[in-house]
Amino acid sequence: MADSNPNETLDSSRPTIAVLDYGIGNLRSAQKSLIRAGADASLTADPEEIAAADGVVLPGVGAFGACMDALAATGLDEQARVAAASGRPFIGICVGMQLLYEGSEESPDHAGLGLLPGQVRLLPDTVKRPQMQWNKLATSDHPLLIGLDGSWMYFVHSYAAELSDHTIATTDYGGEVAAAAALDNVWATQFHPEKSADDGRRLLENWVDFVRSTSKTSQTPESDQTRL
């Protein structure tokens, strides 16, 4: 476990990332781990800051309906839709992944953001719920998952998105369960990369690399940035 991140020496290419802060749970770990992965990450609900960020993270913990209510109360549901529609890299984590779908069995009276097609379903009753453990990924070929086939990630969830054409990683928990998904610029993980030790760090570095590759600032470094 290295203490230094090679990306940290490349200050000129630290993309800015907005972690949507709508008053739920512990976002500190997500922010810290994105910084460690080479990004300039901030927790924010400010529309201007979100609009200016190179990449946007939608976190989420707790119940689907409570998260949708909190997003709506802060206006961040609309900000999330705008950010996703802008084509900039966008990633949902844990319940943040589930919120991207059209709806969830957990809260049938709440619509999701509808950025990914399909529904979120309760895990089978043949297994303990929540799944609260590390589990192994089976990955497909996707930039988020470079080097991560067979990696171990930390999961905490009772619901998961339906498997679809957009599923890019699965894990085995009472059958094949969607662990990550992607449609164009909208990506998502059911597990918590920020709590998944070195494998989680690699995944976030993959995402930050992608954000960097798409960001305007990386192509035209600004004058106040210093190349070390």
Partner: protein, 269 residues
Amino acid sequence: MQVIRVIPCLDVDRGRVVKGVNFVDLRDAGDPVELAAVYDRQGADELIFLDITASSDDRETTVAMAEAVAEQVYIPFTIGGGIRTVDDARRLLRAGADKVSVNSAAVARPELVAEIAAEFGSQCCVVAIDGRRSNEVETSLGAIPESAPGIPSGFEVFVKGGREATGIDAVEWAQRVVELGAGEILLTSMDRDGTREGFDVEMTRAIADSVNVPVIASGGVGGVHHLAPGVTEGGADAVLAASIFHFGESTVADAKEALTNAGITVRPA
């Protein structure tokens, strides 16, 4: 696939790790951040910090500890001990803890479990149950638990470090807290705690079979050979140990090797 977690447990008092931590290579054996990092490197799946700070005035140090751990440790960690209100839980979760564990405060006021679950989600609401055999009968197979008045399972909930009986049946209590919203049960045998004789696998099995949330087996581990029976006989989803790791007798990797050799799936250390 069920993947069994190995969880070292650290006792902290006013933000410092206490009780017999004895690593040779540490600059500061009382530093929770440094110890957490050691266990993280060894392949620990989670960590539990048990706050034994006596005075509530000193609890801010525990919040500061949670912040410091969250800065440098990228595996999940739970803080238990002294959490009496939703606000206590909120401060620790905001500081970076992934879960909070409640024990005697939930026995005194079970609604606390529902309040924490409603506010932050069941996934971060652990209920710690300290259980003891209230009655036993000797058989040719050894002592087995037997029902006692009001304690149909034979396992009773205790509080105050195992000193005070509550008259509550441990199995019924486990079911009740899960209904209230607990997402995980941390089950400690107060008969076995500190004995190094191994888990009370009968009690673990009784609880694990009665709820559909993960159960962490705790109390009595005296060597890595004690871990697997908590899973194979007790049905636990995670195993907790303290002294075998703290004294450097065993590493988390040793624990995982022992579990693997017993046919149990773990995340490789």
